[in-house]
């Protein structure tokens, strides 16, 4: 589901801003998370210290990624895991699909994993005749609807409980209800049967501890734990950036992750997985594989500004505060990773079709303020804007927007000559004067046509300033 046809984002976001129902749903869910976050933050005075620690540990880990990955691999292998490094999505997909086939697995269950969304694993499995079941409630719901998640933490944030009630009625023929408890019970019941039959499990990974070879999976429903422990074969899929050095580092992340993500103090389940079932143990898979995915991440690592984005712990908070995400929702981004962090990683993971995303921001900085690992998102977006402009294959803008961009370029050229700029300003003011009402113009020619479609444009009226001593210095 990588961003495909160009121009998609314009169309989809145009449709989405009209969807006031969607905005209402997004608003109520993200406001709820943010309100809870404000409370738990208040109750936890060392929150800022934890952020600083998490930022430091991650930055350090990213700087030593190669060593940590070697250490992690050794430890994983020591504990009996098979480790596969996938250079890109296709390699990761193939490895997993082949494995499922070679095991003759019939019932694949999945815990929540954005990385498997990124590699488009489900369609690949489906093509091989296997229908994996998403067991995270939100993921289960969007899967039933035949869509992808619209948020990295709360996949079904774009749906109301009424929507979900209707979905269950349509799919299962059950009596309509919009009571969350009943809907959850219904889904649980169905998922339990699926878990009992499952012979192959797949989950994502939140943190991988190099020192011990332990994978940490954080979740609220217990489905991740079941997906990793019940089936005979288990595959964990992680990006290369998930590794942290030591077990003792983990607490800093656990302190902040749940708080910023959903406003909880801690998630309900935190699973520590160190290798498959050992002799004499009753739980756990007989075989465990770890797929470690690059897919454009090492290219991000090589860029000193972009590198910072690999600190991301996918808490989703930047989506919740983003005034743009809140107006258009996740699906409009046409990328697996929406919102502010998505606008950074998507162009790097999915190529230039997502190249517009770094520009689709006012750089208001709400994301940077909330980010628990202190990623300076606006600064990285700016960096990407240059890269898109100066790169070998500069982004192709729709014609009207290309005109707006050359308008900005021309303006910058003129502004280098203040006297000329002021003179042109005066001429424009004279020309536009007859069209102004109460200081505003209702219509402007391109490239400002898009502006006056929605609001009035202030009438230019440079006055001669009061005489000032430096007036004569103009070149």
């Amino acid at each position: 589901m990588a961003a495909s046809a160009k121009g998609d984002f314009f169309d989809s976001s145009r449709a989405a801003v009209q969807d006031h129902e969607l905005q209402r749903k997004l608003e109520s869910a993200s406001t709820r998370h943010l309100d809870h976050f404000a409370i738990v933050k208040e109750e936890f005075p060392s929150y800022e210290d934890e952020k600083t620690a998490a930022h430091r540990i991650k930055t350090d880990a990213i700087a030593h990624l190669d060593e940590l990955l070697i250490q992690l691999t050794d430890k994983l292998q020591d504990s009996g895991c098979k480790v596969f490094f996938a250079e890109d999505a296709a390699e990761a997909r193939k490895y997993i699909v082949d494995l499922v086939k070679s095991k003759g697995a019939q019932h694949v269950v999945k815990g929540k994993s954005m990385t498997t969304e990124e590699i488009e694993l489900n369609p690949a499995l489906a093509a091989a005749g296997i229908d994996p079941v998403e067991t995270d409630l939100g993921e289960y719901i969007v899967q039933l609807r035949g869509e992808g998640p619209s948020h990295i933490i709360t996949p079904a944030i774009h749906l109301s409980k009424e929507d979900i009630g209707q979905l269950f009625t349509d799919k299962f023929g059950t009596e309509y209800t919009a009571e969350p408890e009943k809907l959850t019970a219904e889904a649980r019941e169905r998922l339990r049967a699926i878990f009992l039959a499952a012979d192959f499990g797949i989950t994502g990974v939140n943190f991988a501890i190099a020192e011990t070879g332990t994978l940490v999976v954080v979740e609220n429903e217990g489905n991740g734990r079941l997906s990793s422990s019940m089936p005979e074969t288990f595959v964990a899929v992680m990006g290369i950036e998930k590794v942290i050095p030591r077990l003792e580092d983990l607490s800093h992340f656990l302190e902040i992750l749940a708080r910023t993500a959903t406003g909880q103090k801690l998630t309900t389940y935190t699973s520590f997985i160190t290798g498959p079932r050992r002799e004499g143990e009753l739980d756990g898979p007989a075989e465990m594989h770890v797929v470690i995915l690059d897919n454009g991440r090492s290219a991000m690592l090589a860029d000193p500004v972009l590198r910072e984005a690999l600190n991301c712990i996918r808490c989703g908070a930047c989506l919740n505060v983003c005034p743009i995400y809140r107006r258009i929702g996740g699906h409009a981004y046409k990328s697996v990773y929406p919102g502010p962090i998505g606008s950074i990683v998507s162009p790097n993971l999915f190529g230039s079709a997502a190249g517009y995303l770094p520009f689709a921001s006012t750089l208001c900085g709400a994301c940077k303020d909330i980010c628990p690992v202190k990623i300076d998102i606006p600064r990285i977006l700016l960096h990407l804007r240059w890269k898109e402009t100066e790169g070998e294959h500069p982004l192709k803008w729709p014609a009207a927007l290309e005109r707006a961009r050359s308008g900005a370029r021309r303006f910058a050229g003129i502004a280098r000559h203040p006297r000329t700029a002021r003179l042109l300003g005066k001429i424009a003011a004279q020309m536009l004067k007859p069209f102004a009402h109460n200081g505003y113009l209702r219509w402007m020619p391109p490239p400002f046509g898009n502006w006056t479609k929605y609001r009035n444009f202030p009438r230019p009226h440079p006055q001669k300033r009061r005489p000032a001593p430096a007036e004569n210095q103009a070149p």
Binding site: I324, C364, A366, D369, T389, L401, A415, Y440, R455, A470
Partner: protein
């Protein structure tokens, strides 16, 4: 601190010249001599934000030539101030000579309210303004410069003013420079909500410290036929 350089910014020069007059008036009343920076027109933010680095560097070069170090530079806009104070170091990574100049003037650059409250240490500037006012904090002002309380400190001290509570006031108005043209539909959706909040606040006047926000909010209110005015903070502080 009896002399400052006033950098108008392109938006104020072209669309809101009254802002510059107001800034100068307020400063002069505080016995500060105001020297306008006439040799530069634009800080380069528009080009910079658009990914047009070369053009932005040329404007930065022009700006840096036009100001003197060791004398405060007052800017009546949060976003232009952050451009000069913060983003120049990113812009000029490959221009060591310019970067050095930018670093030398960095401590001398102040947004208008920041200068009044933190440098001149004033709260009351002798203003009287008998209107109901809602203050919209501009994003760059708050989040890049960390100027969160200064404008309110100044507004609270104005005689006769009635300050209105603006719900969700820290949410962006949707301007974002070229964003407002290129992604006008999203920008307009953001503006729509901002205007709804402004209307429910009961304000007659919306105040901001950034001509970008004033242009966006003012243009929206004007299109909607609302009676609510937009003013720069300096205009309120200059009123008597």
């Amino acid at each position: 601190m009896n002399e400052v350089q006033l950098f108008s910014t392109c938006l104020a020069e072209e669309f809101f010249p009254e802002v510059n007059d107001a800034v100068a008036t307020v400063l002069e009343r505080l016995r500060v001599k105001v020297i306008p920076v006439r040799r530069a027109f634009c800080c380069g933010q528009v080009a910079f934000n658009e990914g047009l680095r070369e053009e932005a560097v040329a404007l930065a070069r022009r700006f840096l030539k036009s100001v003197e170090p060791s004398k405060p530079i007052v800017v009546p806009s949060g976003s232009c101030t952050s451009m000069l104070k913060i983003f120049y170091s990113d812009l000029l990574v490959n221009e060591p000579a310019l970067a050095e100049k930018a670093a030398a003037i960095r401590p001398w650059i102040f947004e208008f309210s920041q200068f009044l409250v933190n440098v001149l240490k004033v709260k009351y500037v002798g203003a009287r303004y008998e209107r109901a006012v809602a203050y919209h904090p501009s994003c760059h002002l708050m989040r890049e410069l960390g100027v969160r309380n200064e404008p309110m400190t100044l507004l609270s001290a104005v005689s006769g003013i009635k300050l209105c509570e603006l719900r969700d006031r820290e949410e962006c108005c949707g301007f974002g420079g070229m964003f407002s043209v290129k992604f006008a539909h999203i920008s307009a959706a953001m503006l729509e909500d901002k205007m709804a909040r402004i209307k429910e606040s009961g304000a007659e006047v919306v105040v901001a410290n950034d001509c970008g926000c004033l242009m966006q909010i003012g243009g929206g209110l004007s299109r909607a036929g609302a009676e609510i005015e937009t003013r720069h903070l300096a205009e309120v502080l200059a009123a008597r």
